[in-house]
């Protein structure tokens, strides 16, 4: 009874916030609604007994990915009127794409059937009494090891790509060289003077190490 109430509550908030993601006028509000949707999806995962997946969803999507979204969106200078201009022109196209996507999801879900290994794994792990985290790890590192490693490799390639893109040739960043700083003798950095009142300080000799 209580579970059903919570299920419908989380689902309702999830659906409403998912709709708000695409209808909110301010892109920052959109991202925040997206985060709300993620959190409710995580709550639904918890209710389904997949606590590990729920926590990973929150850590990866809410804690890392969405923060970067927010980071970028906040710095955008969005012209809201220009954003609305082509709305009616592109509406048919958008509706078509949305409809095709929904049909595809519907079709693939209708034809979905758990494979033999999946069902076997679910059954054996329930019997062995492993927690959901342990059973996921057990499958990932045995049966699906190569797929898992490939996914990791893909992420590494993406990361290297991002680094290469931001690396500008020629422009030398100004770096702090701690060893060089520590090696400087006091005489190079500090000149003690005793100013005579009224006379001021004689101009200091020019230093060579200043670029």
């Amino acid at each position: 009874m209580i579970e059903q109430i919570f299920f419908y509550m989380f689902s309702a908030v999830l659906l409403v916030s998912a709709c708000m993601v695409i209808t909110a006028r301010n892109p920052v509000h959109s991202v925040l609604f997206l985060i709300l949707a993620f959190l409710n999806a995580a709550a639904l995962f918890v209710m389904a007994g997949a606590a590990f997946l729920a926590m990973v969803l929150v850590i990866v999507y809410v804690g890392a990915v969405a923060v970067l979204f927010l980071f970028v969106v906040m710095m955008l200078d969005v012209d809201f009127i220009a954003l609305r201009e082509g709305f009616q022109k592109f509406l048919p196209l958008g509706l078509t794409v949305g409809f095709v996507l929904m049909a595809e999801i519907g079709l693939s879900l209708a034809g979905f059937e758990a494979s033999g290994t999946m069902r076997l794994a679910a059954a054996t792990h329930r019997v062995a009494g492993l927690s959901d985290a342990a059973s996921i790890g057990d499958l990932l590192y045995t049966r699906y090891l190569y797929v898992f490693e490939l996914a990791g490799l893909l992420l590494v390639i993406a990361m290297i790509g991002a680094i290469v893109l931001t690396l500008t040739e020629g422009a030398r960043p100004r770096r702090q060289d701690l060893a060089r700083q520590h090696d400087r003798p006091i005489a190079d950095t500090l000149t003690l003077v005793k100013p005579v009142i009224g006379a001021g300080i004689a101009p200091l000799p020019a230093r060579e190490d200043v670029p």
Partner: protein, 338 residues
């Protein structure tokens, strides 16, 4: 308690609420007195007296401050995003409180002893950045926005090394359950074999809570007060208390991961007489003192130094240590699941 009233839905609800109150009241008092302790410790280190007027030894000071904050006016700047502006401090404070649902203060003394406890804590602490970033954006102020940007980058950077440190501990325990993590330290606290990880974790915790020497997001010498520059009265107080609640949370996490939670120093007579929760509180207080000590001792980092430390020192070091730990466990046959 398996039968009767406390097994029914209503009974479980009442029991959980009672547990929450029993945890929250001491926690909030702890937060209030942490602000007092900080001022006293800083004063002692700087050869001053600190608050000593309100009540005996100035013990009434936190409550006097709270009353003062309550009666001030909440100013919402023009052009601010009103709802988000008010929600941001609640997020910061609420998350710091929410995390306590899984913290065990004694054997099986947690409101929710869930299997993925440590992941839950990590998830909650990774959400903490939202309070800051929303506050910075909703204030519609340059300084606040700069502070929020700094904070977001800083918290994301140091979360990576915190995650790897937690992984290192998990490799030694073989469970994500906080209760199991503490019980795994019955023979030796992880502070001994994983001492370098403790250091990395503690420094990352300083950065994660925006505390000195990593308090760049609020660096008052350059960006006034950073992300909460536009906040006043209770909304400011929530940010302020949220920072202290986060400090207590991070100290509790350090205690659980490295100092054996509620376990006594040694399982022999005079130490075992002291109940677990007192050990837990004493250890948390000890870690908190180091937080305050660091603030009184170290100057603020520069931004590039902060990033360099996080990405070029801590990340490779903790990764290497994780590999070494896993290798050693495998070589000596100490892996928890064989």
């Amino acid at each position: 308690m398996d039968t009767g009233f406390f097994a029914s839905d209503l009974g479980i609800l009442i029991l959980t609420l009672a547990k929450a109150v029993a945890l929250l009241v001491p926690l909030l008092i702890g937060v209030a007195y942490l602000t007092y302790a900080e001022r006293k410790v800083l004063a002692a280190i700087q050869l001053r007296r600190g608050p000593n007027v309100t009540g005996p030894f100035g013990l009434g000071q936190p409550f006097a401050d709270a009353l003062k904050m309550l009666f001030k006016e909440t100013v919402i700047p023009a052009g601010a995003s009103r709802a988000l502006f008010l929600v941001a401090p609640m997020i910061t404070f609420g998350l710091a409180i929410l995390a306590w649902a899984v913290i065990p203060v004694n054997n099986h003394w947690a409101i929710a002893n869930i299997n993925v406890g440590i992941l839950y804590l990590f998830a909650i602490s990774s959400l903490g950045v939202y309070g800051v970033i929303i506050a910075g954006w909703a204030s519609n102020s340059k300084f606040a926005f700069l502070g929020a940007m700094r904070s977001a980058a800083q918290m994301i950077s140091y979360e990576v090394s915190i995650g790897i440190v937690i992984l290192t501990v998990l490799v030694c325990v073989g469970s994500l359950n906080l209760n199991a993590i503490v019980l795994a330290q019955r023979t030796v606290w992880f502070a001994v074999p994983l001492l370098p990880m403790l250091v990395v974790f503690f420094i990352s915790a300083l950065a994660e809570t925006n505390r000195a020497p990593f308090d760049l997001p609020e660096g008052e010498s350059e960006i006034v007060a950073g992300f909460f520059v536009e906040y006043s009265a209770m909304s400011f107080a929530l940010f302020f208390l949220g920072e202290y609640a986060n400090m207590i949370l991070m100290s509790a996490l350090t205690t659980i991961l490295f100092f054996g939670g509620w376990l006594p120093i040694a399982p022999i007579a005079p130490f075992t007489w002291i109940p677990g929760p007192i050990w837990f509180v004493a250890k948390v207080a000890m870690v908190l003192f180091v937080f305050l000590w660091v603030r009184a001792t170290l100057p603020r980092f520069r931004y590039d130094q902060l990033m360099q430390l996080g990405w070029k020192v801590f990340l490779p070091f903790s990764l290497v240590w994780l590999v070494i730990t896993a290798g050693a466990l495998e070589a000596f046959g100490w892996l928890p699941h064989g």
